[in-house]
Symmetry: C2
Amino acid sequence: MSKVYTGASMSIDGFIAGPENSGFEHLFAWYGNGDVEIPNEIHPDLSLKVTEVSAAHLRTITGMSGAIVVGRKLWDFTNAWGGKHPMGLPVVVLTHSVPDGWEREGEWFTFVTEGGIEAAIAKARELAGDKGVAVNGGEMARQALDAGLLDEVWVDLVPVILGAGTPFFSQLAEKPVPLEGPVSVQEGRSVTHLRYLVKR
Amino acid sequence: MSKVYTGASMSIDGFIAGPENSGFEHLFAWYGNGDVEIPNEIHPDLSLKVTEVSAAHLRTITGMSGAIVVGRKLWDFTNAWGGKHPMGLPVVVLTHSVPDGWEREGEWFTFVTEGGIEAAIAKARELAGDKGVAVNGGEMARQALDAGLLDEVWVDLVPVILGAGTPFFSQLAEKPVPLEGPVSVQEGRSVTHLRYLVKR
């Protein structure tokens, strides 16, 4: 069965955003601090320039991913990425209601309104074929973890103390959650790419 | 001038203790998961069995440290480590009042009651000679960082999501705090030893 994983750029004190969505100039600095260009044909303004190590890390994620699960909040916040996710993958949006003007099943977005995170991940697995499912956004990641559906946690650890903001994982149903690993540690420039397995 | 640094075992979500001082079986698991014995002559019950990598990491810290700064809370919590710190180093205790039965200057403990973290670190520098000063406990580390006196942050990153508890750094006067590095990444067993510099 497809692996389900989540990943985020995180401060060393565990935040994926500072207060009021601040701090991204720190969290995403590694997207622009290298020599390897990663063009984005869908969104040229989201093209990256990263180190060779970080480029390999991003290629790994892209190569293994077949579909993405997000919550309605992220979908709204990004304005549906202008109509297509930057990774060029089908996106399953978990939402209470299909937004006006969007079909339940579209070319790039599928809206799941019933059955919660389980149904969203099941749908994403269908779309992903033999590839994996990426779960994006702390709230979706937390729900997948609580439901016992998360296999891996990837952390891009960034050298900043944000001091406050949005934690990667919060409001967990059961805690602590022991992980295994890291099974991979890759050193970029001002970022440490860490990969953990969720223990079963 | 002596370097001033702080370090702690930390969950991947940024906590150095779970709720009500829980979670240490996860945070300190790496103290016992290897083959290299690190005896503690002062406190035999605090002897460790760690991996070779973690042993080298601990030897580095021990070798560079000449004195330790702690707050009264940690000193009380550990019951003054039975009279002598496990690292066998002089300890400066920042406190509002010298506890009954203890002199202001003793063989192993020096009590600083005025001048705050600046005075405590100055005293520790005197005692450390040409070695460094370790600041222990999140509250003392936060004060040293706020005072611009902290040079390095060491994190022993442990594969567990605690979900709640005591953050390594909280209530920072100014944030975010950008760091440099990691300047060192050492992979133990179920622990990643990371070393960051505080930017000036």
